[in-house]
């Protein structure tokens, strides 16, 4: 018996169960079909809503990185979303060319992520939450007090992004644009989950002591998580502004940040499917309430859902579904 791994000798890579491969292929086909069906079968408004789900999914994936994976509670997530959105909105008046904007959004998000992350690295729990909250308030304040540029609380119109025949405020075009970043963000998150970086974050979340004992650079990992989450939110916000054509501070306030938390926790922290489910919830459920004429019930439900999930299903919907599957014996190994 050789007990010590000898790294010089190549090993057979570890194989996952074959059944999973088939499952993944099946879901990929089904998702592609659904993606194609939405703009063909549904009306203009419904396609717009589908695009919103995808945009919010990108931002939710971002919060899932910093909170769901790295365990750092950020109440400034909507502000990063707003940072991207206002970059798009202000690019018109400030004359920033389109090709510069994505880089600018990423740079601003990195800068914002660092600004929030660095003072909070010494903190945890309540203090971290409060500093991020304060940062969010500061963002709101900055918008409110830069009237000439942003229109303050009245918000501002965003000129569409046009490239040849492409117009970001056209329904199908918006759907495509949202699909592109949603796909990119999902693939990036999937790769993050497979990488050592992703596992480092989980380690930092579950125990900083254990992480240190494994050699995980804790500070570095937290900053990376904050930056990645800010970049995801910023990118989503940037596309949001171009697709919706209008930005105002209420979309990016504390409650918006709490809704993102609802999305992450409802879906299941640290799970890609969870972030998508959560995003669908925060976009679609208000629509349903609106449809039946009670738009104000959504915040009530949001608060209730957050409490109920935290109390009764802390793993979120994804874990709940897994539990049900296990109960039904469908997934016996």
């Amino acid at each position: 018996m050789r007990l010590v791994p000898d790294l010089a000798v190549p090993h057979r890579p570890f194989q996952r169960a074959a059944g999973r491969r088939h499952g993944a292929l099946f879901s990929a086909v089904a998702l592609t079909a659904a993606w194609l069906a939405i703009p063909v079968l549904l009306g203009q408004y419904e396609v717009f809503i589908a695009a919103q789900v995808m945009i919010y999914a990108v931002a939710t994936l971002g919060l899932d990185i910093v909170y769901g994976r790295a365990g750092q509670l950020s109440l400034a997530h909507a502000s990063f979303f707003g940072l991207g959105a206002y970059t798009a909105a202000l690019s018109g008046p400030l004359g920033i060319p389109l090709w510069v904007q994505p880089e600018l959004v990423v740079l601003l998000a990195i800068a914002g992520g660092i600004i929030v992350a660095v003072p909070t690295l010494r903190l945890s729990g309540l203090r971290l939450a409060l500093v991020t909250l304060l940062f969010g308030e500061l963002f709101d304040w900055a918008i409110d007090h830069s009237l000439a540029l942003t229109g303050g609380s009245q918000g501002m119109t965003v000129a569409p992004m046009t490239i040849g025949p492409f117009n970001s405020q056209g329904t199908v075009d918006a759907y495509l644009l949202a699909s592109i970043i949603a796909l990119g963000a999902t693939l990036l998150t999937r790769q993050l989950a497979r990488s050592q970086l992703g596992r480092r974050m989980l380690a930092v979340r579950d125990s900083e002591l254990a992480s240190a004992s494994l050699g995980v650079p804790i500070v570095h990992t937290k900053i990376t998580a904050f930056i990645l989450s800010a970049v995801f939110a910023g990118a989503a916000g940037w596309v949001y502004a171009y697709v919706v054509g209008f930005v105002s501070p209420t979309t990016f306030n504390l409650f918006a940040s709490v809704y993102f938390l609802v999305a992450v926790i409802l879906g299941g922290a640290g799970r890609i499917t969870g972030a998508w489910l959560g995003s669908a919830y925060i976009v679609l459920v208000p629509e349903v309430f609106n449809l039946v004429g009670y738009p104000n019930l959504f915040p009530v439900l949001g608060g209730g859902v957050l409490i109920a999930i935290a109390l009764f299903l802390p793993g979120g919907l994804v874990e709940g579904a897994a539990l049900i599957r296990a109960q039904l014996g469908l997934h016996r190994r």
Binding site: V4, P5, R12, L197, L202
Partner: protein, 257 residues
């Protein structure tokens, strides 16, 4: 043979409380040392001081002539000084496999973009890490439960998972804090066997805190007894246990409790 790890008059104080006082020790490469002593003797504090979780008040700790004092716990871990905890700390919602895989942190890993974009170096490193993990799991008999979530496993498997995570990349110094606590006799025996074989094959330097004197007797050729933060005896476990000071510390305390 020169010592690998040297502690020179190490003291740790918490406010007015002296947890460890003037401890001088040397551990040669490949040694396997049992650290014994009653509760509150300063064993865990000493382990914390070596692994960097507690700052030392005075003295020196050096490994291979490198002064460890200015290094953080994570930096020491990357030099190969790794430790386990009394309470098992795992990635609760992940599988045994992923928990062990995270131990590959101590191998060189690609940069941020390399990892996120799955560039070729990342693919190579991932293949390397997967292989190391699989081997370790097989060696420790964890392969059958590799894809179970750790939060649904019995304590013994969780403990073994934690140890696998430490061993997946060969450490230079392995520090274990009561690894057998909470295990039944059969699991203890298996654990002792795993540690012994790994130790012999890998030539790593191991320090184990253990309350189970029998286990120390079976496993460790050498042992050190601490009481009130000071070394009161050292030598083979049998020698140490027959020292009057150790008898006094152990049974004195026990009868007083």
């Amino acid at each position: 043979m020169t010592a690998l790890l040297k502690l020179d008059r190490v003291s740790v104080r918490f406010g007015g409380l002296a947890a460890v006082t003037d401890v001088t020790m040397a551990f040669s490469p490949g040694s396997l040392t049992g650290l014994i002593g009653p509760n509150g003797a300063g064993k865990t504090t000493l382990l914390n001081a070596i692994s960097g979780f507690t700052a030392i008040t005075s003295g020196h700790i050096a490994m291979n002539e490198i002064d460890l004092s200015p290094l953080s716990a994570a930096e020491r871990a990357r030099l190969g000084v790794v430790r386990g905890f009394q309470t098992v700390r795992l990635l609760e919602r992940e599988t045994v496999f992923d928990n062990v895989l995270v131990g590959c942190e101590r191998l060189p890993q690609p940069g941020l973009l390399g990892q996120l974009l799955a560039l070729p170096p990342e693919r190579r490193c991932r293949a390397r890490d997967l292989a190391a993990t699989e081997t370790t799991l097989r060696d420790l008999g964890l392969l059958p439960i590799a894809h179970r979530r750790v939060d649904e496993l019995p304590f013994a498997s969780r403990r073994l998972t934690e140890i696998a995570r430490l061993l997946v990349v060969r450490p230079t110094v392995l520090l274990l804090d009561e690894p057998a606590a909470g295990l039944d006799t059969r699991d203890r025996r298996a654990l002792v066997e795993s540690i012994r074989t790994y130790h012999e094959a890998g030539g790593l330097t191991t320090i184990i805190i253990e309350h189970d004197i029998e286990l120390v007797r079976r496993l460790c050729p050498y042992s050190v007894a601490l009481d009130m933060g000071r070394i009161i005896a050292s030598g083979s476990p049998n020698e140490v246990l027959s020292e009057p000071a150790v008898q006094q510390a152990y049974f004195g305390v026990r009868s007083g409790a």
